[in-house]
Symmetry: C2
Subunit: 298 residues, 2 copies
């Protein structure tokens, strides 16, 4: 069984097709890496790539993309709704299989060091790679954005983890880090009352005293006239999907509201779902690494 | 996404380590194929290999194994509890991903033809590859075994699908075919009464009017003092695991017996479990090919 690392770099270009296409080419040509998805948003003026492959392959691809983005994107001319501080704004590495957070942290440090050494773009380490708690949160690291970064970098507590206290003139600053895989999981309720979804979201999310690795809000699905608990499961091994699903079912009973469906948005690691099957089917001693056929082929 | 075919050849040698090791070497050296598992049973005097890979890779590996087994195994000297008719007794091809039964049937015919052309071992096609209904069931094809085969082959209805009406003198006859993947799934009951497991098994299995692709019997787990419904799910897409699991739960209620656990024995395709997660989590429009991250890497 091979190691698999996911990497989801964000680039500050969502409009210029030539630039986006050049980045896609770099990702598609990277050896040992599959470009699983890429999406660009014109109003955000930002593109998100999802790649996966060997640790070395993904690290090399992330660096090559950062070089390409640095050569083609000029942040002095960038406008868009999404906050940003670099041509390559953020590079998270995510352990998927036969690897762990530690290796992804090490990978993030190698790549950040190389980005500084070879491209002269200063880097911050964030999330699990952060050297201090104040740098864990990407929003805190990015605060001030590209325009405010020259001044921020001169403050004693905001020296970059790699590089000098001055932004790259056109490519800015990049945040590199490691984090757990994220599963976007929404649960649809048999009610048009948004306040029920709000109340449930509050009980299941970490900030409301709920599950540690669950972020949740209530939203209305206007087209269907039903309310939804919309969640980011930021660590599906720490807080499995079935646990919040059953918690939502139990809390919803308070209003006599049933669960009418759910959605998994975008990609999910297989294990997030296989763990649910093992729970509901009450499977004893299931070893997904050994017993799932496809795992032997990765 | 690449095509994946599984192949589970059975060889009539479960004692001689040198022969088994030679077969393992052939399987491990086959390009584009992973040997997922192999097990040998001395009293059966039989070895079962589980391989998976590209259709071409698996076909080539199956042929190479059949050649090696034919060169090393002499059925005139074979004794063992398990019925057998060939050095390579049976070769099933199983569609796992991005392929279907039709391609596996075609593959089985190619391999059977090549086994006859190059190795002079006559072949029967069985299961989904069978030319006539009487050859679907492997037990019917193998009836008479190696010793009775010379006479059986001369009967009008038992001409081999490939080859002459005479067995290979030492390697006998081989059955080649295509079938759906099999999941060995057992459900443990909170009772020591075997008759409850027997009664439940009868209601869920096809032969008892139950689910079409479910074979089931009741057994006692002596060490634990509980009864179990032991099943072979012979087509998990036709009859999903969650459907029999919920049927067992419902029928067991007749005796006030709870389900206390379950077992998946050996290997299972990921989809057999992911479909269960999608059912219990009520996921709408889940597309496992697109949304399961690892599927993009196979």
């Amino acid at each position: 069984m091979a190691k698999i690392v996911e990497c989801v770099p964000n680039f500050s270009e969502g409009r210029d097709r030539a630039v986006i296409e050049a980045l896609v080419q770099v990702a598609e040509r990277a050896p040992g890496v599959a470009l699983l998805d890429h999406s660009s948003d014109a109003s955000h003026n930002r593109s998100v790539f999802t790649m996966a492959g060997s640790p070395e392959g993904v690290a090399e691809a992330a660096f090559s993309l950062c070089r390409e983005a640095g050569a083609r994107i000029d942040l002095t001319k960038h406008t868009g709704e999404h906050p940003r501080m670099g041509a390559t704004d953020v590079i998270p590495f995510i352990p998927i299989r036969e690897t762990g957070m530690e290796e992804c942290v090490a990978l993030s440090k190698q790549v950040a060091e190389r980005i500084w050494n070879e491209l002269r773009i200063p880097c911050f380490l964030y999330e699990e790679s952060a050297a201090v708690p104040e740098r864990k949160n990407l929003a805190a690291v990015r605060k001030g954005q590209f325009e405010g970064m020259p001044e921020k970098l001169r403050r004693p507590e905001w020296a970059p983890d790699y590089g000098v206290r001055a932004v790259h003139p056109t490519a800015g600053v990049t945040a590199v880090g490691a984090r757990a895989p994220l599963v976007a999981f929404n649960v649809n309720l048999g009610t048009s009352d948004l306040s029920v979804a709000d109340a449930i979201a509050k009980t299941v999310r970490a900030s409301g005293g709920g599950y540690r690795y669950c972020k949740a809000i209530g939203v209305m699905l206007e087209g269907r006239g039903i309310a939804q608990v919309s969640m980011n499961m930021v660590n599906h091994e720490g807080t499995p999907l079935y646990r919040v699903f059953e918690a939502i079912r139990a809390v919803a009973r308070r209003w006599g509201v049933p669960i009418v469906g759910s959605e998994v948005i975008g990609l999910t690691p297989a294990k997030a779902l296989i763990d649910c099957a093992a729970y509901y089917l009450q499977i004893e001693h299931f070893d997904d690494k050994k017993q799932v056929l496809e795992n032997h082929l990765l």
